[in-house]
Structure formats: C-alpha cells, structure tokens
Amino acid sequence: MKEIRFHGRGGQGAVLAARMLAAAFVVEGKHAASFPMYGFERRGAPVVAFTRLDDKPVREKTQIYNPDCLVVIDPGLINLPTLFAGLKPEGILILNSPRLLENQLNQNLRLAGVVNATQIADEEIGRDVPNTCLLGAFAATTGWVDLKSILSSLGDYFSGDLLERNIRSVERGFHEVKVSKW
C-alpha cells in the first residue's frame, strides 16, 4: 500500500486533487480511497487530505500517519512544523514552489519533485489552482501512476474549456517538474 498525504489551503483544490489521484489509480484497475480532514470549510484555512493506493481493496478508514509521499500544494506550508511528521524512509515530496529545494529538509526524504504549479496554473487555467499541475508532477516523480490515467480521471471533474486547461496544466507539471534525489 502507498499512502499519500496532501497539504493545502481551502480553495486550492487539495481535496479534489486527492480524490482525482484516487480516481486515476482506479482507472488502472487498482484500489484507492481518499478523504479530507478539515474543520470549517473556509478559503485559506489549512486542509489535509489523504489518498491510499493498493492492489487489494483499501479497508482502512483512518488518517495517514506514516505517509510514503507528501504533496504540498501551497508553497508556504513547507515551513509547517508537522509537515514531515511520520514520513516513511524513502519518502517522497511533491512541492509547489518557484524555487528548488536547497537541502534535504528531512532525513527520510529520498525524492523531491518541485514544480512552480502556481505559475503554471495562472498561465494555463488563469487562476491559482495548482492542484492538477501537481498531479502531473506526482506521476513524473513517483512513477506510481501513468500520466494518461491522471488525464482520463479529470473528465469526471471538469468539462469543456476548463478540462482542456487542466489537461495542459497536468502535462506541464509532468514535464516541468525538477526532481532531486538524496
């Protein structure tokens, strides 16, 4: 089982990204489950969301304490003291940031895929919704899911022009992510 924890802020689409990722896994015939945890539904307030992926049905309905991967949708959250809490050895970080990471940040961190998803979302979607771009970066960095699967899962959530824009955002995330290894 792979466990992925998303960190974002209300309005950035963390919940939706976690859900779309689960859908992408299901497209590949795998099992997945995703749910968010937040207090009030408020734009700007911190949001955590979880996605599990497995070859057999996902039965656990608990929060994720030992993630294999962190997806950070808001660049500012990189300073969150609890961000890396429980990260497994060989851990992976997918980060939305205009700047590359200068150091490892956490001893369990093995791979980091950094992409300027905010800028890409601004350019492609016209709004600061970096979530789908990071899914592209996720596919490229982890290799756990096909880019095609991510793209095909978008259809459940977007249509028309918005779907096209998000597809471009995902693709650019996939191609423009910079991966560091430790």
């Binding site: 689960a22 299901v26 749910f35 945890m37 309905k61 608990t62 459940d156």
Partner: protein, 398 residues
C-alpha cells in the same frame, strides 16, 4: 438472474447515498443541508437539474419540515427520501418520532455527527445512538459501496407490507461522507427489478381523497397499546426481513453484507471485537495482522443497530472468552459506550465473560490502527484471566 455490471466511479459516501436514492425513483425528496451531509442534497438537486431524477424536490426551510413532508408523502402512498445529520436529526425529533409511530416507510440517510455544541462539526455516532428508542430501523454501514447498496435495500425493507417502518441508513460523517472510493453504480433497470417485488404486494393503507380514511388517529388507551404492540412486532420481523433482502441483493448484484451483523473470522476466534461504521474496515486490517501473529481474534460488525440483532449476536458470541466493544459515542448515565451497554444485556445468553467498553473516535478523533491493536491486546489479556478495566477512553490515556 444476475444484474449487469454497473459503472465504476470514484465517488464520495455522500454521492453514493444520492446515487442510491436517485436509482430508487423517489416521488418526493425533501432535505435540508447540514455539514457533513450537504453534498447529498446538492447531488440530488444536480440529478434533478440534469433530468435524471424525476421527483418533486422540496427546498425546505429546516429538517423538521423535511421529516414531516416525507412522512406525509409515504402515507399518501408515495416514495420519499431525506437525509440529515446531528443537530438536523435533533431538530426533526418530534416529527421523527411521529414518522415511526405512523409507520411511515420513509428512507433517511443520517451522516453521523457529534452532538452538540455549535463547534461539534465533527464525526461521531452520538446522534444515532441518542435516537435508538424512536422506533426506527437503523442500519450502520462501513464503506461507500455499502452506503449505496443499503439505500436500495432500505426501500425494500421500509415499504415491505409486513414491515412498514421508517429506515435510517447511518454512515460516519467525515470518515465516510467525504471518503472517495470506487463504487459500482447499478444500472437503473436492475434497481427497478430489485424493487419490483414491492409492487406485487398488497397496497398499504393510503391517504387518498376518494376514501374517508384518517391518518394519525393517535390510538388511545387499549388502541394505543395495540399499535405499540404491532410496531414492536414489525421491528422484530424487520430483522429476518433484512437478512432475506440482503441475501437476495447478493444473489442479484453480487454484493451482500451479512444482514443484521457481519462476522469476520469469528468461527474459531477466542476473543471478539465488535464495532460499527467506518472503524470496521480498519479493524479488519488489525484483526488480520493479529491473526498472522497467532492470536485467535474475530470481529463483529454491528450493521443493524435497531432492532437489535439479539439472536445473531448470541449465536456469534456464545463460547467466546472475552469481548471488546468500540463505541464512537457515549451512553450518558451508564458511563460506557451505548453498544457496550446493549451487549451487556446479552450476558445471560452468552455467558458472563469479560466484556470491555472502549470509547474512541468522538469529534473526529481517529480510531487508528494502534488504538484497535490496543483493544485486541487488552481483551486478550482479560480473556487470560488478567484484571481488566471495564471502560477505557482510549485517546485520553495516550
């Protein structure tokens, strides 16, 4: 006859509830939004706007009206659906009791939520446990697929001529309402076919303008007692009826849930853990892990919390050495969990073995893997004759 393969979609528990309701073609939907249930109402409104739900949609001004509306619809002969949670359930309480007393076959979703302060916008089962004695059938489910399937089964149960009771399908807020997972959405014709036997039954008494019938003659004296007696008898029948419907559902759709309870690895188990709702899934994983370590532990998922599956539980628990019950709510006045208190009533039938109450998961607290491991370890120790604590508030001891 088998149903065709349904479409697989990754949807939330709330969406699954809405799909289930939509597929059953209710005549009237009346529901007032409340976190974490709102998505159910939104989704049904979306279905209606998209033309795939041909129902009268009543945008009510509160839950009390929602319950009164759906009760009246069913007593006029129609099919009705509503959904609520927590304070919404509390706000409809008078109508909620009336619906049961009138034997109105309403199907309702309750998205379990904590009760109640204005900040108790969090998961917990206090709401559904507070209304156990209202005369409703209450079914508590574990995952998104079971939500959808249970709504369909709920209509079969509620409207059955031998039952005629309101049925509430309960699922945990946040942990299930917002959980997105793959759900097979049955084909509309297949759901029609599954519900078709209801049409072959004798018609239930209806309030129609052609007949000089009155509804809500609150029985008095002996008449009232007679109605209460019939109500209790119908609840008793509902237990077996749910088993039959569940079996039939399984044969047709390929999924079944054990009826009143599901036993998981209990046959040769020495100790048993019992819980209900979203924690069951996590508990399965922990039971498997403990089994792998050689511990003979089993799990019971309490599905039907009203009426209480007394016979099935007695059968399942007889001869076990110790039982642990994980409650996501409290039983005020008994200082323990409500399911634990009910299980204790079975002691004369199953034997006075150690029984332990574990309270966890209030207000969105996580019933985590380590918590369930601890439950199993404690129950095992008690089964070995070690002294044990009757009630444990797990997170408060960490």
């Amino acid at each position: 006859m088998k149903a065709q393969k349904g479409e697989i979609r990754v949807i939330t528990g709330n969406a699954a509830a809405a799909y289930g309701a939509m597929l059953c073609r209710p005549d009237v939907v009346a529901s007032y939004p409340i976190t974490p249930q709102s998505e159910v109402v939104e989704q049904l409104s979306r279905f209606h706007a998209d033309g795939i739900l041909d129902a009268e949609m009543v945008e009510v001004e509160g839950e009390n009206s929602a319950m009164n509306i759906v009760a009246a619809v069913t007593l006029a002969g129609g099919r009705a659906f509503t959904a609520t949670s927590s304070a919404g359930l509390a706000f409809m309480f008078d109508a909620f009791l009336m619906t049961a007393g009138y034997r109105a076959p309403v199907v309702m979703i309750n998205v379990n939520r904590e009760l109640t302060s204005i900040f108790s916008v969090s998961g917990g089962q206090q709401d559904i446990m507070t209304v156990l004695n209202a005369g409703w059938v209450q079914i508590s489910v574990e995952n998104c697929q079971e939500i959808l399937d249970s709504v369909i089964m709920a209509f079969r149960l509620a409207e059955d001529i031998e039952i005629q009771l309101p049925v509430m399908v309960c699922y945990d807020g946040f942990y299930l309402s917002f959980l997105a997972e793959a759900v097979e959405i049955p084909a509309r014709e297949d759901v029609d076919q599954f519900l078709a036997p209801l049409k072959l039954q004798p018609e239930r008494t209806k309030l129609v303008p052609e007949k000089p019938l009155g509804c809500g003659t609150h029985g008095i004296l002996r008449g009232f007692m007679e109605l209460r007696y019939k109500h209790c008898a119908a609840l008793e029948r509902a237990k077996q009826k749910l088993e039959e419907i569940d079996r039939e559902f399984g044969e047709f759709f390929g999924r079944s849930y054990g009826g009143q309870i599901e036993e998981y690895r209990t046959e040769d188990a020495e100790i048993v853990v019992l819980t209900s709702g979203s924690a069951v899934g996590t508990a399965r994983t922990v039971v498997d892990a403990k089994r792998a370590q050689g511990l003979k532990v089993g799990l019971i998922k309490l599905r039907m919390i009203r009426p209480f599956p007394r016979e099935r539980l007695t059968q399942a628990l007889k001869g076990k050495k110790a039982v642990g019950i994980i409650d996501r709510s409290v039983c005020f006045g008994w200082n323990c969990g409500p399911m634990y208190m009910e299980l204790r009533a079975l002691c004369p039938d199953i034997g006075f073995v150690p029984m332990m109450s574990f309270i966890d998961g209030l207000a969105n607290m996580d019933i985590s893997i380590p918590h369930i491991e601890r439950v199993i370890d404690d129950v095992y120790a008690a089964s070995q004759g070690k002294p044990y604590q009757e009630v444990t508030w797990i997170p408060l001891e960490e």
